[in-house]
């Protein structure tokens, strides 16, 4: 019972932090929309061309936009010692990581999910492709949150090299993008590709808490 109260408390704090940092989220979404517009203007007004490459472009830009908020994932709580205080309050680092991933999914990825149908209109995507895009992003954003958590915890002590975190996320999201974009051109294999995506998400949900917690412990030791 007590641990449930503490989990609720943690999520309440995350939601308050989210509201105080809401400008960050808006600027990330603005970055996403503007980069979509840049692509559209660069490619010209060829409807067929936009339709055929739309999903691929949207996915690549989603990846790039979600790596923008990467450094903030643990940094503030790590620097001022809140992670340690929460741990001393009776939560293991693994549980903290799971809750962080969940709140990142809820407060950062869901707004992106909502904006996807709007972006679909700009690329003149057929409605079934928009459905597929939303479905694959729903599963894919979980994978992305896990990857961002791993990458952010690995870079807690890294003060100089800002791009290495994004490199890790982009490298490991290659399978995600292959299966997510491939789902539109493979009508017969729809179910198997969705199962593959869910499989990848489950693997990362299994790996991310342990590896991130190990990285956080290591970072606390070498602070």
């Amino acid at each position: 019972m007590i641990i449930l109260k503490k989990i609720f408390l943690f999520l309440k704090r995350e939601s308050k932090l989210f509201y105080s940092n809401i400008v960050d989220l808006f600027s990330n979404i603005l970055f996403f929309f503007l980069s979509v517009f840049v692509f559209i203007f660069a490619l010209g007004a060829d409807e067929q061309l936009l339709k055929s490459i739309g999903v691929g472009i949207i996915w690549s830009l989603l990846l790039l936009s979600s790596t923008l908020s990467l450094r903030k994932f643990y940094e503030d709580d790590f620097k001022n010692g809140v992670l340690m205080i929460i741990h001393m309050g009776g939560m293991s680092y693994e549980l903290i990581v799971i809750l962080k991933i969940f709140s990142h999914f809820l407060f950062v990825q869901i707004p992106f999910l909502v904006s996807l149908p709007i972006v679909g209109i700009f690329f003149n995507l057929p409605i079934n492709e928009v459905y597929n895009l939303v479905l694959t992003f729903f599963i894919g954003s979980l994978i992305l949150s896990c990857l961002i958590s791993i990458s952010a915890s690995m870079n807690l002590l890294n003060k100089t090299n800002f791009s290495i975190g994004s490199i890790i996320v982009l490298l490991f999201s290659i399978p995600l993008i292959i299966f997510s974009v491939g789902i539109n051109s493979a009508d017969i294999h729809f179910n198997s590709l969705i199962n593959l995506l869910i499989g990848i998400a489950l693997i990362f949900l299994g790996i991310a808490p342990w590896s991130s917690a190990a990285c956080i412990r290591l970072a606390l030791k070498n602070k």
Binding site: I2, R13, D77, N80, G81, V82, M84
Partner: protein, 202 residues
């Protein structure tokens, strides 16, 4: 009762401290002193199981803390030299978070009286980022009372404090040790507390 037995710690094969023995019973307060870099903060981190000692054991109530780490944490308040308050949240949000985390039974009125004693009651709805460093430190020290734990471990608690606040902190320490509490703190300051024991790291 806290018992430290033959504790040694090496960082990159450089000796920080070796064969340290210490026991801390109820109603006891120990100040750790030493020059800069003598390993005072490192000792606290080893004590709290953040760093791994090279040899030696730490016992809390007769049990090795490694096996019962959450039992130990459950009765410990650790005040670090940095401020653990979240800068983007209000003072009251921070207090409520700490209270929930330690399942504190302090009521809102009692918290308000505490804030009034420390003269930060007018900031209760202000974000911590707008407070001065002394006020932030006072807010941090409020955790000692909020969490209602038995063992207090503090790293440089006297930094940034004015004379009145130092007096309040000393009185808080005396009240806590008279109330069967235990305190270990690291400081260069010489506070006026009777039965203060000093452990020199030089």
């Amino acid at each position: 009762m806290l018992l430290i037995n033959n504790l040694s710690f090496f960082r990159n094969d450089i000796k920080i401290f070796e064969n340290l023995n210490l026991s801390l019973a109820n109603n006891q307060i120990i100040q750790i002193k030493g020059t800069n870099g003598s390993g005072k903060t490192t000792f606290l981190e080893v004590l709290l199981n953040i760093l791994e000692p090279k040899s030696g054991e730490i016992f809390w109530k007769g049990k090795n803390i490694k096996k019962n780490i959450f039992d130990f944490y459950n009765q410990t308040t650790f005040i670090m030299d940095q401020n653990t308050s979240t800068r983007k949240l209000t003072v009251l949000d921070n207090i409520n978070f700490w209270r929930g985390l330690s399942s504190s039974k302090l009521s809102n009125d009692e918290v308000f009286i505490l804030l009034k004693t420390l003269k930060i009651e007018k900031y209760y709805d202000t974000k911590v980022m707008y407070l001065s460093s002394g006020e932030t430190k006072k807010l941090e020290l409020l955790r000692l009372i909020l969490e209602q734990k038995k063992l207090w471990i503090l790293d440089e608690p006297y930094n940034h404090l004015d004379d009145v606040s130092i007096e309040i902190l000393n009185q808080t320490f005396i009240d806590h040790i008279n109330n069967n509490g235990m305190i270990i703190f690291v400081s260069h300051f010489n506070p006026t507390i009777s039965n203060l024991e000093i452990l020199d790291f030089n």
